[in-house]
């Protein structure tokens, strides 16, 4: 038996439960209410309202990814430098919050950030002026970064802790300062982890809608919200499907570009 046949169950599964449902949605995207072929669904993304939501989502997802990198990189680096004996424990600490239900956690953030919320109460105790962040893009961003940060820390941390200590020692022995060690050794070797992180943060950030509904006060319209509205409220499934398919294609193109056409090279594991 050849090794590649081990993938048979998986291939069957992918065809049965990923490819065929995707085709169902694809068919829906390219048909109208009358069942005839149309480009309307997939081209709808170019309409002003949808385009605006798409651009806003792009901006939010991009900002969220950037902030995640900025927060996660030092965290991963510091975690590594403490040389915790038990890597598993560290990782667990980062994943553990996900075991509380997502909606409950986002509702908790709403309580923290609201006008008479916990954060402003604490600030008040210290005599600081209250923050008016609730129901704005700032609270939306806080919620997004909160939700996706672990997905950025984990792969970077994995990439960095996979770096051979001997390599760093060798660089030091050859006279590299800690700055040079970082620039020439650690950083380049952590790039694959960062790329995994970018995919794990950017892609779901593009399609999320629950956070915008709860923390954005329903005033901010992401492309995810529009897709949700088409499916759940307007009951215009053709349009919803069309928007999702074109969003998927755009994200795929974007990813191919980021990964320089080499999706498979995104190296590091999440865990």
């Amino acid at each position: 038996m050849k090794r590649k046949y081990l993938a048979t169950p998986y291939i069957i599964w992918v065809i049965g439960f990923t490819l065929l449902p995707l085709i169902t949605i694809g068919v829906s995207a390219f048909t109208g209410d009358d069942g005839a072929f149309t480009w309307d669904g997939v081209l709808a993304i170019a309409e002003p309202i949808n385009r605006q939501a798409l651009l806003f989502s792009l901006a939010i997802a991009f900002g969220c990814t950037m902030i995640c990198i900025l927060l996660a990189y030092p965290a991963a680096l510091f975690l590594k430098s403490f040389r915790f004996k038990r890597k598993g424990f560290t990782i667990f600490l980062l994943v553990l919050p996900m075991w509380m239900n997502f909606i409950l956690r986002i509702l908790a953030w709403q309580m923290i950030l609201s006008k008479n919320g916990i954060l402003n109460f604490i600030l008040g105790r210290f005599g600081a002026a209250p923050l008016a962040v609730s129901n704005t893009w700032i609270s939306l961003m806080i919620g997004m970064v909160y939700d996706f940060l672990p997905y950025m820390i984990l792969p970077i941390f994995n990439a960095i802790s996979d770096i051979d200590e001997d390599l760093i020692e060798a660089a030091r022995d050859l006279g590299a300062g800690s700055g040079a060690v970082f620039c020439k050794v650690i950083f380049p070797l952590s790039v694959p982890g960062m790329l995994s992180g970018i995919v794990m943060v950017f892609v779901p950030a593009m399609t999320s809608f629950v956070i915008a509904d709860i923390l954005g006060g329903g005033k901010l319209q992401l492309i995810g919200n529009i897709i949700e509205q088409e499916f759940m409220k307007s009951m215009n499934w053709h349009l919803g499907a069309g928007l999702s398919i074109s969003l998927m294609i755009l994200v795929l193109i974007g990813l191919a570009f980021t990964m320089r056409g080499d999706m498979e090279e995104r190296g590091t594991a999440l865990w």
Binding site: K115, G117, N135, G217
Partner: protein
Amino acid sequence: MRKRKLCVLGAALAGMLMLGGCGKEEPTEYLTVFNYGEYMDPDVIDRFTEETGIGIKYEEALTPEELYAKYISGAIDYDLVCSADYMIQRLIEEGEAQKVDFASMEYADNIGDRFWEFSQAFDPDNEYALPYFYGTIGILYDTTKVDAPIDSWGVLFDGSYKNDIIMQNSQRDTFMITLKYLGHSLNTSDEGELREAQELLIRQKPDVQAYLVDEARDEVVAGNAAMAVVYSGEAYLGHEYNEDLAYVVPKEGSNVWIDSWIVTKHCKNPEAAAKFLDFLCREDVAEQNFEYIYYSTPNQAVVENMDEELRNDPAITPTEEDLAKCEVCTQTDPEITKLYNELWKELKAD
């Protein structure tokens, strides 16, 4: 070592599984019921099964639209559906409902005559829909945060409470009250009137703190906002938590909504379905349900047994005066629904 770790883990997980693993007798007949979330005391469902031996498969949805989307996909054959008046109307019009013989039910008489009359707005011969709960839409406000008692929708639109207003994150409710404020019917099919309402809503948007669903009540209770557009039942609960809150149905009029039950065409056991509806109308059951939900009940037997305070609370029992200025929503024209969707999307995108 790893094995030992896995054993500990496995044992712990198995322990957690045991928690809920209590067996019980399985009924032979089942009804599949689709309702809003938290819109029936779970105990009522258990009682029904105990009394009749008919099991209930219970499903929940958050909004009428979502319920419709899941219903119409045909993924599950629901026997009974409870939803908002306009959605019930749509289901009836699309031939999804089957006739129910309310006259032969023992307890259907408990539903007050006027609610059968309300129902006629979307079910002209009272053949399909059974009223479940009803109420009005109004303003829940914090009396300590406003200068004078509120009596008009105008406070939402005149810019005097900037960033202190919570609107409903539901296109129908939001448009309905705006249409009422402008002096139009909330069932209008005039595009001009709808666009006028949208324009007003767009102008109001900067003053709105958030568009929320039912968390709206909590935001006013917590003092995060001065006022919110809510359903009357929510107002009662809000008042329970914060005594400073008051509820008003503005003088321009509003919407009176009736959430109703229908038996769908998929139901293969109409007798069991009728039994369930009859059960819901029975006084003790309706009372238990009322005390779980605290929305206005059309069940007169329950109303008569209520204590004075509850019966006189306008959030629990809308006054004649309030009801007189309210309209039932019967607008289900697909073209208008489409326009609503479009206008709502534009408002949100602005």
